[in-house]
């Protein structure tokens, strides 16, 4: 409850973590607001089906609020005049202002009468795109801060956010956002491609960092490292060096 989880990937694609959390929270009966900036609804829907969850059905029963960024930006730029008082959540494409996006999140997750869902969840895929679309790094951090206050503190829900980072990256704005978020996260799941390059049986390693130091000073963070292999319908995790191909 009230936790901020940061998903991070380096040298690989960490989107499998997003798919996992989406189906996990929906199956747990939580109300989910998914800000999907990079892929279409059908992409997530097809993968979710392989993981045993129907996104269309979840949307139908009001459990899932899905913001399809790609579609909304087309509506904003090519669509008809928007109604006054209902700014598009993708407003920041024109104005670099993320407030409309935050309002969208807040309204989606606020409890309404007749809601029986357990705990609200905000899921964002992915935050690094906001920088490419005109938002300043400080604005992105402010947006996340507002979301945390609203979702984690006021609504006692969870927030899960994906960011990309690269070693030796020259994208200073992105590095600033990622480092800052790392400091404020309760849990960090860091998917990294293997340093030795591509391998058929081990797709990468995942570092799980439980930031105990955040809640209690002088408590060291708990770090666990596993390797993983992504399959069609699930991801298998194993201790380092003990992939099935080796045993």
């Amino acid at each position: 409850q009230g936790k901020f989880t940061l998903l991070r990937d380096t040298r690989t694609d960490g989107s499998f973590l997003v798919h996992h959390f989406l189906s996990f929270y929906l199956r747990a009966g939580c109300k989910v607001c998914f800000v999907a900036l990079l892929q279409s609804f059908s992409h997530y829907s097809i993968v979710a089906q392989k993981l045993g969850v129907s996104l269309a059905a979840a949307k139908e029963r009001g459990q899932l609020v899905f913001l399809e960024g790609l579609k909304s930006c087309l509506d904003l730029l090519f669509g008809k005049e928007e109604q006054p008082g209902q700014p598009s959540p993708l407003q920041f494409l024109s104005t670099s202002d993320l407030r409309a996006l935050f309002d969208f999140v807040r309204v989606s997750l606020s409890a309404t009468d007749g809601d029986s869902w357990k705990g609200p969840v905000l899921l964002v895929d992915d935050l690094s795109v906001l920088l490419s679309l005109g938002a300043a790094p400080v604005a992105v951090l402010d947006f996340i801060h507002y979301c945390r206050v609203c979702v984690c503190c006021q609504l006692k829900g969870n927030v899960v956010v994906l960011v990309h980072s690269n070693e030796g990256s020259e994208d200073e704005e992105n590095e600033l956002v990622v480092n800052s978020l790392c400091h404020h996260s309760d849990l960090i799941l860091w998917a990294e491609g293997l340093a030795t390059g591509f391998c058929k049986d081990v797709h990468g390693q995942i570092k799980i960092i439980k930031r105990l130091s955040l809640r209690q000073a002088a408590e060291p963070d708990l770090v666990q490292i596993y390797q993983y292999k992504i399959q069609d319908r699930n991801v298998s995790f194993f201790a380092r060096g003990l992939s099935a191909a080796v045993l």
Partner: protein, 297 residues
Amino acid sequence: ELPAPLLDDSHGKELGDGAAAVKSEDFQDSMKIAWRYQNLPKMEVSPTTHTKFGHYYDISKKMSPELCQSVKLHSFYLHEELPFEPTMKTWNMNSGYARLLQSIQRIISQEGFDGSDPQKKQRNVLRIGIQSLGSILWGDDVCCSDAPEDPQSLTKFLYVLRGLLRKSLSACIITVPAHLIQNKAIMERVTNLSDMVVGLESFIGSERETNPLYKDYHGLVHVHQIPRLNSLICDVSDTKDLAFRLKRKQFTIERLHLPPDLSDTVSRASKQDLAGSAKLLSSGCGAMAIGKKHLDF
């Protein structure tokens, strides 16, 4: 100025003969010393040796005008376009890119590629080609300045284009003069906003031109990213080291492999050179330069 396609079968026949010659060697003397390797397939240098895949063009000839006219072709030349009409909304983007997006969206909706008009049943896919995106030809200074005026125009353009492609029956291939973009952060963002990213690195003008390892090729092909769509997994091939060769009638992409080291008088220095290049080669997608310190044969 498109190259003429090779429509006759003569080229196919050339390939076929070559393939047949290779096959007949397989049945000759069975191996005596290396008998364990007897049943392994011969190293396939080029995936097209046995099948005809893709289209073939003769670069020395031009495409016939009749062929060009028989196909519905839309072109966009920035300097011939009308000035940008901002309508009521501000796009906050380089006007060249904004005009291009408007033009693409207009074609998609008029020709029915977005399925909006049930009358127009599109059986075909709209193929879009954009050349030299980011260059000064599009009014963007991201290629000529280290601190461009509006670095986000390019990435915003790609995002909106992505939206248009996802919502219609279309595919797009874009070329970007990456060697001119000094701000590497922009290239990282461009990569993240793309589904598939392939880099071509020419040997001309670089020290690799004289490296004996590369003497048969004109450049390297780097696959930086492959699409992972509608699935958890993606189709990563085993081969990471690809090189290209441009001949008059063929542009081929082949697996790069070290020629056998047959000389016994090779000096130590050059052996290290080759080994060093080999380490760089095998380090896999996206980890090109880092591989050197981790591979220890």
